[in-house]
Symmetry: C3
Subunit: 273 residues, 3 copies
């Protein structure tokens, strides 16, 4: 059950090494603390191998990448693979530039990832090796909907199978799949898209969940997605007159901080296909 995944994170306090963008990094750190993990950030090539060695998981996020941090990603990824750590890729903006698409593809070729989490446009870019993404948001034409759900579930499984990875495609409906099983998750709220970095935050949480649940990573990844969506619902319940996206961001992190295993098990809204 998802509640057990949550408790494993709170009990083991996984240390998560993040090479991530400077836009949302503070929220990622507070979110990893909120879910029960411990964050550390480092992107300097000379520093990353030591840092990742003392960690339990590695979260690579390519937003605001630069040549120095890209070098750090490859070094940290190789070291984390040697040590058998959980490793996640968040391909922010893959499809929006040649550098982002190319870096994501090279990372996929050179590092073994446990999971990839992105929006549908980013994942489609990785599947095709090229793409055109509207910035860091998903193209409307690609969005996972009830009408195209079967096609999208097949796409997710097929991509996961080809890359031998867990793929999490997040949006209004979230898909978390390996080659055989796909969780279709309907937690969350549309207003979450008006906050910068909810995806980055989820990638941080998911890395902690993967690190703390090595024996059932697919379930752990799905639990992280349900947790984030449920926190979006719970946090929204505390919104008051005059509140907007900035306060909502705080409330979602607060909700993750306060969520317990029983509430997650009861609130998780998913089916398996």
């Amino acid at each position: 059950m998802f509640g057990q995944c949550l408790e494993n994170v709170r009990r083991t306090i996984p240390l998560v090494h993040n090479i991530t963008n400077y836009v949302t990094v503070n929220d990622v750190a507070n979110m990893i603390l909120a879910c029960g993990g411990s964050p550390i950030m480092s992107d300097e090539p000379e520093d990353v191998k030591d840092i990742t060695a003392i960690c339990d998981g590695l979260n690579i996020n390519i937003g605001t990448l630069n040549k120095r941090s890209i070098e750090g990603m490859f070094l940290a990824g190789a070291r984390a693979n040697e040590l058998g750590h959980a490793v996640l890729l968040d391909p922010v903006g893959a499809g929006a530039s040649a550098l982002r698409t190319g870096t994501a593809m090279k990372l996929l070729e050179n590092i073994t990832f446990d999971a990839i989490r992105g929006n549908i446009s980013e994942i489609k870019t990785l599947a095709l090796g090229s793409g055109t993404t509207k910035g860091v948001d998903a193209d409307a034409a690609d969005v996972v909907r009830e009408e195209n759900l079967n096609v999208m579930v097949s796409f997710a499984k097929s991509f996961a199978d080809k890359r031998k990875v867990i793929v999490a495609i997040t949006g209004a409906i979230d898909l978390v799949a390996d080659g055989e099983t796909c969780y279709v998750i309907r937690n969350g709220r549309a207003e979450m898209s008006k906050i910068t970095g909810t995806g980055c935050q989820l990638s941080g949480i998911m890395t902690a969940y993967l690190a703390a649940n090595p024996d059932n990573k697919l379930e752990a990844a799905a639990a992280a997605v349900c947790l984030m969506g449920l926190a979006g619902e719970t946090g929204f319940g505390y919104m008051q007159k005059g509140d907007g996206n900035a306060t909502y961001c705080r409330r979602i992190i607060d909700a993750v901080y306060n969520l317990d295993a029983d509430t997650l098990d009861k609130g998780a809204n998913y089916e398996i296909r």
Copy 2:
């Protein structure tokens, strides 16, 4: 009317490329979302030309500049100019160091900006080509006051005319001018100066407003300034016992998120000189 400018942003969802400092970048991103735009950040020289090409506007902010990001600013600016995108300069700390002053002056010489937004010390530095700024805040001696308003309006128009640019000088009284017309704006609250990055946030909003209102950029820039000031007033109305500058920062972003066209038109407090 300003309300129409606001609605154009919400309707067209301009994508804004930001090359900005790592201090206030998260608030800039959430503020661009709050006003109805969509933010993307990228400063790596190899990445910026692709990123800016898919955007509608470019916001260049020289806080925490470095040699790599400076190179990115020139490349992105040139590309945005080729494509006819809205381009804004926020000369954070111009006058505080030779590198900042020199970079701002070189940007002005090499890139065509639609607007420049800064405090009076920063704009005076650009007008003179040199200056002494007390950090990132305006020198008290320079501040726009009722007593020196005529002189300051003339200065703003003269600078705007010489540089063929819209200039927004923000402080207790805000001036938004081209060579002929100056909006004198009296929205906002003094407490906004106790939050880091309200200027950076306004620059992000203004870029979105310029991008979504290509046919009346001066009015759009003035609308953005009124919006920010009005949000400062509205947000302050929600402050409760124990709240301080950190919560106030959230409340201003929230207020921008919730502000509608009618409220902006009614609350905008300005005269034209």
Copy 3:
């Protein structure tokens, strides 16, 4: 008295140059504003000497260090020393990697610091010249407790004496010592450890306090630690149902913003050993 230290900050508005990590930098900036100072951030080697020259204090924090920012740290530190500015070192993650430990040690050898603020594992690493830190948090085995307090007070004084520096070791019990006197401080709450960057924020405050109180730096450093702890207590008093670590972070900054000299003097919970 500590209240006088607080009033000196609010009266003189010290300008603090921060070379700090991109994870917690926004909170550091807002915290420096909240306590009555003014922040500026710059890490580019070509920029830092000019920037630090116009400031009153320099806060060097080695979280997310890179080769460029390390070069900036040495240049800024040397210049601040020449000018007699207050200079503080926050050795984030010393002991967690060779680069962090080595950089902290070299900084100690080449720059004269007024104060060093870190957790016990980081300070032990500096005392030994090597160490193994669990990420950016203190190792449980090292924590300052009532049972080992005498030993820890001696360690703090001995380290301070050897390095001719004020050392602030923060945790559940905080120690602020020079070679002869140690403040043992029992303000604060355990929940503060679930927020990223409370240590970084305190380092920013402490630099402002040192800069504004040049004649009694030990007392000023202790006042800053009491202020932060007391703000943690006050801010917690405003927590409501559903609030978690993200809101708590805001409330602590808010509490610093609202704290006055009298409240600090009455709320400071310390003994001198």
